[in-house]
């Protein structure tokens, strides 16, 4: 069972060292993602869902630091632990095998570059070789070869042998001489326009040349998704991509994500606080509370018989017409000096004294159903 998972997060601990004190954001997160599946992560604000997703990409925002735990990535056959890798190696994976989509689309796009610049950046970073060869092919099979094209062909041959040769990099800096990059750029443009069209953009040419502030919410989000899918990653992480969008646009993006999963065969980690989206889109759900995963189960199993008291209370607190409102008493504990044992102990009406002393372990209760609660202990 171990080998299949694309990503295995084991007992991830992460702390933020701030002025007010040490915030224990992640306190032993356990999570595994299977290939070609949509895993939902649901939890209230401050439960650490976004921090976990960034950690999988190996990005830790200062002043945070990962204390211990393992994140094992199964990428093209090799098992690697992200946390042990040095920066260079992780960079190869980011954007290529694992990529990410964020919440406010316009805030996550650089306002001073066009859409084409930002998307082609990913292509140049990871698939440069492929595009040089493509440019070489198109140059070669041009009918009449003028002297310039022959000259270009010779450069491209040298270039494809050694993609980041110093000479080429130097040449591309000088204004007049860098025209030699045009065939390469044309290839990139074709790929970007094709990508935007596959994401249902009305007029990809104009969008490619426009700046982020000229795009509407839905279009900007599609651009971010295009950027993430440029090198068809094996895992696409979506951090609440539709929360800021209107309901009708949200439906369009959800539809798009479902279609992309089928087309690109990549698995998707979908993070949200909206249980409706979880029910619609995801196949398996992980429920997080105050820094650790309390329950992980298939979606129908979770909605039908939730095991962990928090999941049960969360599902009951969804306002349903006609029924009285039920809510969870108390507030989320502060993570600066969190309560010992299970962090849900104050608000849980099944709390036993063991819950106040020992932290419950993340154990497998049923086939593909994990829970971290003393009720289902030994």
């Amino acid at each position: 069972m171990e080998i299949e998972n694309i990503v295995d997060v084991e007992n991830l601990m992460l702390r933020f060292y701030t002025y007010e004190g040490i915030v224990e954001a992640l306190d032993g997160v356990n999570l595994h993602i299977k290939p070609n599946e949509i895993l939902g992560v649901v939890g209230e604000t401050g439960c650490g869902k976004s921090v976990t997703s960034l950690a999988i990409l190996g990005i830790v925002m200062p002043p945070g630091r990962i204390e211990n735990g393992k994140i094992i990535i199964n990428v093209n056959g090799k098992q690697i632990d992200i946390l042990k890798l040095h920066e260079e190696a992780i960079r190869k994976i980011r954007g290529k095998d694992i990529s990410m989509v964020f919440q406010e689309p316009r805030a996550y796009l650089n306002p001073v570059y066009t859409v084409f610049d930002q998307i082609s950046e990913v292509l140049i970073e990871h698939r440069k070789q492929e595009f040089i060869n493509r440019a070489l092919q198109t140059l070669k099979n041009q009918p009449k070869k003028s002297t310039i094209t022959n000259f270009y062909i010779s450069i491209y041959e040298k270039w494809s042998k050694n993609p980041n040769s110093l000479l080429i990099r130097f040449l591309s800096k000088i204004p007049i001489l860098r025209r030699f990059q045009n065939p390469f750029k044309k290839e990139l443009r074709k790929e970007v326009v094709q990508l935007l069209k596959s994401l249902g953009m009305a007029d990809p040419e104009r969008v490619a040349d426009s700046y982020p502030h000229e795009l509407s919410g839905g279009m900007a989000q599609r651009v971010v998704i295009a950027m993430a899918l440029a090198c068809n990653p094996t895992l696409l992480i979506c951090d609440e991509p539709t929360t800021n969008l209107d309901v009708t646009v949200q439906a369009q993006i959800l539809e798009l994500i479902r279609a992309l999963r089928a087309k690109f065969k990549s698995s998707i980690l979908y993070i949200t606080h909206d249980l409706g989206v979880i029910a619609e889109l995801c196949e398996r759900v992980a429920v997080m509370y105050a820094g650790n995963v309390v329950e992980l189960a298939p979606v129908i199993e979770l909605f039908k018989n939730p095991l962990h008291p928090y999941t049960r209370a969360l599902l009951e607190s969804i306002p349903r017409p006609g029924q009285p409102f039920k809510s969870i008493p108390g507030i989320v504990p502060s993570l600066i000096n969190p309560p010992k044992g299970c962090r849900f102990n104050e608000r849980c009406n099944y709390a036993m004294d063991i819950c106040y002393k020992i932290k419950p372990k993340f154990i497998k209760v049923k086939e593909d159903h994990f829970v971290a609660c003393h009720l289902y202990g030994e």
Binding site: T248, Q252, L254
Partner: protein
């Protein structure tokens, strides 16, 4: 007192768009465009719509935080006075000769000055503040971070001098208890509270003057699901104890379905559908409402919905499409929709809808 507490008659609110070299007005954002509705006493009137549909502007214009461009608002006025004013307006239109026209105008102006909230100024507006209040969406920005809770909630009492200075702390404590806070919260600052508790302070501030009408501008959107239920429950109990009337603004259909008696659906500054909550969600008439109810995700995996979502996005309110504003995205659009603007008409037991197809032949 009359059964309807608030009458809004063809309310308009346009924001000028400044452009050109001399910052002249080159266009207008028609945030609220000719909206008319009535709200019954003690009712929770829901207003639903996507971003940019003008629901917040409608709320703020109704309680006169914003200056309406046009239209009448009658608050707490008897039916007969309103009908008298309307009668006068009719025959003002039909009247020909100048003299009677001017007498009618004079009388109308007197009546407006006395009853029409849209025209209130100075001390009349000041007194209106006691009866109409608002609760904002994000509690963190709607509370002054450098003021103690006792001052935040006590400020309205201080301004309107409803009660002597000595009695204010006691009144403040009374309202805090009503919203579920206690004595120990008096000497604390807003940043020491959780999101839900901060919203309770904002509610206490709005209700300390015992208003009759409260506009709730997405009060539960910036709060987590578990705390949301607590707030909705609080709104309902407060409505019963202090017989308040709510105008509940939200983009979350699930919430509006549970808490409101009647719902108005807005699109680009206009009301496209207005009916009892049950009717709107069971058999929506307007194509936009149908699209809205269908695309809202339901928290139940068994009822998976396979439907084609609506195309395109909300157009810019600066130059809305001609005719029915929804026609570019409407699957059932026919050529009359592109030319003539539908008006809000009753399609049977006061289920109002603004769509050519729906009102002519019932579905």
């Amino acid at each position: 007192m009359s059964e309807k507490i608030l009458h809004i008659k063809s309310l308009k609110k346009y924001y000028p768009v400044l452009g050109g070299v001399f910052r002249r007005k080159i266009a207008e954002v028609k945030a609220v465009d000719n909206v008319s509705l009535e709200i019954r006493r003690g009712e929770c009137f829901g207003v639903v719509g996507e971003s940019g549909c003008g629901k917040t502007t409608l709320a703020k214009t109704t309680i006169r935080i914003l200056e309406p461009t046009e239209g009448r608002i009658y608050f707490n006025v008897d039916e007969d006075i309103i009908s008298k004013i309307e009668k006068l307006e009719q025959n003002l239109m039909s009247e020909r000769d100048k003299k009677t026209k001017s007498t009618i105008e004079a009388e109308l102006r007197k009546l407006y000055h006395q009853y029409d909230v849209a025209k209130f100024k100075g001390s009349k507006l000041h007194r209106l503040r006691r009866e109409m209040q608002i609760v904002y969406q994000d509690p963190t920005t709607s509370l002054n971070p450098r003021m103690l809770v006792k001052d935040i909630v006590g400020e309205p009492l201080l301004i309107h001098r409803v009660v002597e200075k000595k009695k204010i702390p006691e009144k403040v404590l009374q309202i805090l208890k009503k919203v579920g806070l206690g004595e120990q919260h008096l000497y604390r600052y807003p940043h020491e509270f959780s999101g839900g508790q901060r919203q309770r302070i904002a509610i206490a501030r709005a209700l300390v003057l015992q208003p009759k009408f409260v506009a709730l501008d997405e009060p539960t959107s910036s709060v987590d699901v578990s705390v949301r239920a607590q707030l909705l429950e609080l709104f309902q109990t407060l409505q019963k104890d202090m017989n308040l009337t709510y105008m509940f603004i939200t983009h979350d259909l699930n919430v509006v379905e549970c808490i409101s008696n009647r719902v108005a659906v807005m699109y680009l500054g206009k009301i496209v559908e207005l009916a009892e909550t049950g009717k709107i969600f069971s058999e929506p008439l307007h194509p936009y409402t149908r699209a809205l109810t269908e695309s809202a995700p339901i928290p139940d995996p068994t009822r998976k919905k396979m439907r084609a979502p609506l195309k395109g996005e909300v157009p810019s309110p600066i130059n809305p499409p001609a005719g029915c504003r929804f026609h570019p995205r409407c699957p059932l659009a026919i050529d009359i929709c592109r030319s003539k603007e539908p008006i809000l008409m009753d399609a049977g037991n006061n289920h109002f809808v603004a769509c050519h197809l729906m009102t002519k032949s019932t579905k």
